[in-house]
Symmetry: C2
Subunit: 252 residues, 2 copies
């Protein structure tokens, strides 16, 4: 092997506090189970561990006790993390569509996903939705490992439309794909922004789209209504397409 990197090498995430000097401790029980029982790795095997902030480490398994002790062989800045940090506010869709959104947007470099109960959201079990969020976070973790990302996107607790609106001021750019907007395209918006913009929000409606009141509130908080192109995209496709286009313009 020319480099200690290998595509087949398995990836894990560790808290910064578990990384010291030349050593990393893996304390997460799920990770330990996966390494021992599923991957059947042994002392001396290699894995990659990300600190989720800046670095990823090629490691050698040193000791396999109840916790795993790793020796750091090589430290690298993230290879596969975008500079921009994109948060997707996704109107909660029906069925398994959110799982798909989580997985695909993780591959495409998403930073944070916030499920939002909007006026036209059909899902009723608001109280139970946190269970789904736990599942979505697992999907994000798996997808982040498979895509060799340095950061595992965070799936936040589902929230209300009004809460989302209040949080929009924390972003430097709010992209608002809106089916009533047929003039301004996402390309015009992205090509018109200042240099150095890092924190971007994308807001996607559920199957029925946005109500007029919702659209007005988003625009009132600085959301830029725009079109993603001529064709009509389903809710689970729109965020992914907007994210791919944003990465294309700002990261390539």
């Amino acid at each position: 092997m020319d480099s200690p990197y290998s595509k087949a090498m398995n990836r894990f995430f560790a808290a910064k506090s578990n990384i010291k000097d030349n050593t990393i401790i893996i304390t997460d029980k799920e990770d330990i189970y996966h390494i021992k029982k599923v991957l059947r790795l042994q002392a001396d095997d290699r894995i990659i561990v990300s600190d989720q902030i800046q670095y990823e480490y090629v490691c050698r398994i040193k000791e396999m006790g109840p916790e795993l002790l790793l020796e750091i062989l090589e430290q690298n800045e993230f290879l596969r993390e975008p500079h921009i940090r994109v948060t997707l506010f996704q109107g909660i869709p029906k069925q398994q569509k959110m799982e798909f959104v989580v997985q695909k947007c993780t591959e495409l470099g998403l930073d944070t996903l916030v499920p939002v109960f909007m006026e036209r959201t059909v899902v009723k079990d608001k109280g139970d939705y946190w269970k789904k969020v736990v599942r979505y976070q697992q999907i994000a973790e798996e997808a982040a490992k498979q895509s060799q990302r340095g950061v595992m996107p965070e799936v936040r607790q589902a929230t209300t439309f009004m809460d989302m609106v209040e949080r929009l001021s924390g972003f430097q750019l709010v992209l608002f794909p809106y089916e009533e907007e047929e003039e301004t395209t996402i390309k015009e918006v992205l090509q018109g922004i200042e240099e150095g913009i890092k924190r971007i929000a994308i807001i996607i409606g559920p199957e029925g789209g946005f109500s007029k009141e919702e659209a007005e509130m988003i625009i009132g908080q600085g959301g830029i209504p725009l079109s993603l192109g001529k064709t009509i995209l389903r809710t689970e496709t729109a965020g992914m397409a907007a994210l791919a286009m944003t990465m294309y313009e700002l990261e390539l």
Copy 2:
């Protein structure tokens, strides 16, 4: 209603030969069943019919016999068709992933999908694959109607890698997302092409990617190896992302 167009209006495709003067005849049994039994439309209701070439027609149902007779109220050039025509050669993936590719790429404006048996394709039932293609064509039709497209993408019979290579000369641009290519990005390629390019191919490998021999053959036939960005995309995500980026650059 200001315009005879309505988002709720159902869409169908008709052969040019069934469109004459002010009248369209719907002869397709599936369509007739759907209109009568599923949608429960009646005489005087409106639907939209596309000729799949250039025009779509807002129609009034005139007679509901064994065939349907429609009166044309309005004729429009396609609103939602890209100018470029993109063919996706998709290395056949596992499980239901191709269904996903068909649906999402139809939404994003794909023209033609060709499933290709590549070296690392795992699927074994080559003989039976035509049954799947029939199913994929149905998915394309449904997705095209829902996206209000003027053209229903064509899903061709699955073919061999060598046959695909021979067909590449029919395209003005062959985009070849290849994981070994880490310098040239799809953006550099798309921004460097001449004006007026219309027929574009995108080639995506199956789960295991391309073999070195396959990559060399594609490049030998003019395929441009390129990167879609820093993150690693799954096979079913890569075509969609490449298509979204291509539409962004050339259609917006």
